[in-house]
């Protein structure tokens, strides 16, 4: 039994780190504009599909992935320029509806470009499971966990140590004041959408070998990432990573120890309870409304 629990834990952590990576994308855009970008899952899907497409052109694996990330980043920037920026001054709700519209558009685009079939992607370094204390883990899982860790560290450094990162954070605290002290708020928005899309694409390329990818797979992945971000406290990078890991472990423990039929129900109940008790999420700071 102990060995099984260890396997559940490993499974939970690996699944959770994919949620975490997706949640990070939500957090970034939310930080700058307080918009929940519901097209985040589609960035994941686009990244994976593009990587599969490029590697299908006989490109080396890592070149294909980098190209896919660049392409998706570019799409993210275009999305900000032509959809979000145009709707300047619109209410938050309208902006969020725009992101939902964009997600439908991206899905349609992928459907036309790559068809309806589910596609597979090669594992980065083989498929032979690694045995570890009676549990098994795939090399791909190690890729996911380590790259998630790297992305989190780089982002943390970017936001706390660089002027540019600090400028983005400033926008999230007070848009008007940032403008007054000379921060180009528009540019910050463009950059955060670009980074979000890029991180999403990386997540997609990492997940695709394990979970495959199809034009409509982004929605569910996005939803899980959104839950993780809420759980950890929207707007908190470390929180969303922990939120992702917790969500993954809860899911796998529930299906392993209790019943897999209640897996999703249990995670949603935890999420709801948490929102009742701590609406700002596990690690989020409370929002204080100034009067």
């Amino acid at each position: 039994m102990l060995q099984n629990i260890f396997q559940f834990l490993i499974t939970g952590l690996t699944v959770g780190s994919t949620y975490a990576l997706i949640a990070l994308g939500f957090t970034l855009i939310f930080n700058v504009s307080h918009v929940v970008n519901f097209a985040q899952g589609e960035f994941v899907m686009l990244g994976a599909m593009a990587a599969i497409f490029f590697s299908g052109l006989k490109m080396p694996l890592f070149l294909a992935i980098i190209l896919a990330i660049i392409l998706t980043t570019f799409i993210g920037i275009l999305f900000e320029k032509f959809a979000i920026e145009r709707a300047k001054g619109a209410s938050l709700t309208s902006l969020i509806i725009i992101t939902i519209g964009a997600s439908i558009f991206f899905r349609g685009l992928a459907l036309v470009l790559w068809g309806k079939n589910t596609l597979s992607f090669q594992h980065f370094s083989g498929e032979n499971p690694i045995r570890f204390l009676g549990a098994t883990i795939l090399p791909q899982h190690l890729w996911i966990i380590s790259l998630t860790a790297i992305v989190v560290t780089v982002l943390a450094y970017f936001f706390s140590k660089t002027l540019f990162g600090k400028a983005i954070l400033a926008c999230s605290y007070n848009n008007k004041a940032s403008k007054l002290i000379g921060i180009n708020v528009n540019l910050m928005l463009v950059v955060s959408y670009g980074i979000s899309a890029g991180i999403g694409a990386l997540a997609g390329a990492l997940i695709a070998p394990i979970s495959y990818m199809s034009y409509d797979a982004g929605t569910m992945l996005g939803l899980k990432g959104f839950c993780a971000a809420i759980l950890g406290g929207m707007g908190n990078s470390f929180g969303s990573v922990l939120g992702g890991l917790i969500l993954g472990v809860v899911e796998s423990m529930t299906s392993g120890i209790f019943s897999s039929a209640y897996k999703d129900a249990v995670s949603f109940i935890i999420l709801l309870l948490l929102l009742f008790v701590r609406p700002q999420g596990l690690f989020g700071k409370g929002v204080s409304e100034r009067v």
């Binding site: 499974t11 589910t118 495959y212 992945l221 299906s255």
Partner: protein, 384 residues
């Protein structure tokens, strides 16, 4: 004078256009109208897509050969996106607006079941391309279907398990309609075959990892695993089993009987057994098998135009051919007569097997028409 001439000309013009339009109406009247509603978009689109292509391809071919009883076939088609609501709307349009003579379609069990009430009320022959046994059990006067039922799939699998001496089975299934219906059949039929389900696990069809459920199954003392699922999830289950180094024999349902599944699961698929329509193993049938020629015919024609066949397109072929056969025989488009003829179809070699319809069986397929296949070196092989 000149004015009069113009008037005459105009009168003539009006007269001729009227005559022409009248004659075009009567020509359209002679057309045999085939109505269809399929899931071209939405989650079941990969089923609906080959179905529509098949219908279009064969209707074109039949028309080139002069049609049925000298009348051309016309296809009226609506996309229901996999939604029951849209399916009922489409069928209402087909009946009231397009006035079709026969309705084919219903890609999914959900959309098919949703329209049963309307077709029964409007009394129009309807041939479904979906799996669920509920479509034809209990028998409804105007409703037929061409694919094997999920009940038959479970029976075929349990038969094979019994032959190999497996009595303790771990079941793992998804949360879609197909999976749930199959799961219910497994639970209901297991005692009949002396099989105990020692583990009964579930996953969400968009889940990315099933190792937790499979770890549980690993310690459940089962002799074989049965995965009833559809889409990419069974491929993930297959790979996860390999990852966890579980050596138990794995059975899948007919839901994965496509080349796509083999591509996704790769080497991990070797050794899997599943029941499938004979279409995917057409080449391996004995030459004496009456199904072999029509199956290979369909396969070559479809693949020449659209690439890789799937059993789903085959269901559309079967539905269309059964309808055409019935219309040919009645030599009319009288709906009641067409229905009676469909019920009389005997020894029709379709892609799903030999069809023998009757008043009590509106599917007409025997269990033997299902083939048990095993994946050997990334390809299907019939298990004798």
């Amino acid at each position: 004078m000149k004015k009069n001439f113009m008037l005459t000309l105009m009168a003539l013009f009006v007269f001729f256009t009227m005559v022409l339009s009248v004659s075009s109406i009567s020509a359209a009247d002679k057309e045999i109208k085939i109505g269809t509603f399929l899931s071209i978009t939405g989650p079941a689109s990969f089923l609906g897509d080959p179905e529509l292509k098949t219908l279009q391809m064969y209707i074109e071919e039949i028309n080139k050969k002069g049609g049925v009883n000298g009348n051309k076939l016309a296809l009226y088609h609506y996309d229901d996106g996999g939604k029951s609501q849209d399916a009922t709307e489409a069928v209402k349009k087909l009946i009231k607006k397009d006035r079709v003579d026969v309705i084919l379609g219903g890609t999914t069990s959900g959309t098919s079941i949703a329209v049963i009430d309307i077709v029964e009320q409007e009394q129009i022959p309807f041939i479904s391309m979906a799996g669920s046994i509920q479509i034809v059990d209990p028998v409804k006067k105007w409703v037929f279907k061409t694919p094997h039922t999920d009940k038959m799939a479970v029976e075929k699998i349990f038969e094979d398990m019994k032959k190999r001496g497996f009595t303790k089975i771990a079941l793992i299934s998804g949360d879609g309609g197909f999976d749930k219906s199959g799961h219910a059949q497994c639970v209901a039929l297991a005692p009949k075959y002396g099989i105990t389900l020692v583990s009964d696990e579930f996953y969400g069809n968009s889940d990315t990892d099933m190792t937790a459920q499979l770890t549980k199954i690993r310690s459940a003392d089962a002799q074989a695993i049965l995965n009833f699922g559809f889409g990419k999830a069974p491929a993930i289950v297959t790979k996860n089993i390999r990852q966890l180094d579980i050596k138990l024999p794995l059975y899948q349902s007919h839901g994965v009987a496509s080349k796509d599944f083999l591509k996704l699961a790769g080497d991990a698929a070797n050794g899997i057994r599943l029941p499938a329509a004979p279409l995917i193993v057409a080449e391996q049938l004995k030459d004496s098998d009456l199904l072999k020629k029509p199956l290979l015919d369909y396969k070559t024609k479809y693949e020449a135009k659209h690439g890789e066949i799937s059993t789903f397109g085959g269901h559309a072929y079967d539905a269309l051919m059964i309808a055409v056969k019935a219309i040919e025989k009645t030599k009319s488009v009288d709906k009641a007569k067409i229905r009676d003829e469909i019920e009389q179809i005997k020894d029709f070699p379709g892609t799903a097997g030999m069809f023998n319809m009757s008043a009590t069986d509106h599917m007409g397929l025997a269990l033997s028409s299902f083939k048990m296949v095993e994946v050997v070196n990334g390809n299907w092989k019939i298990v004798e």
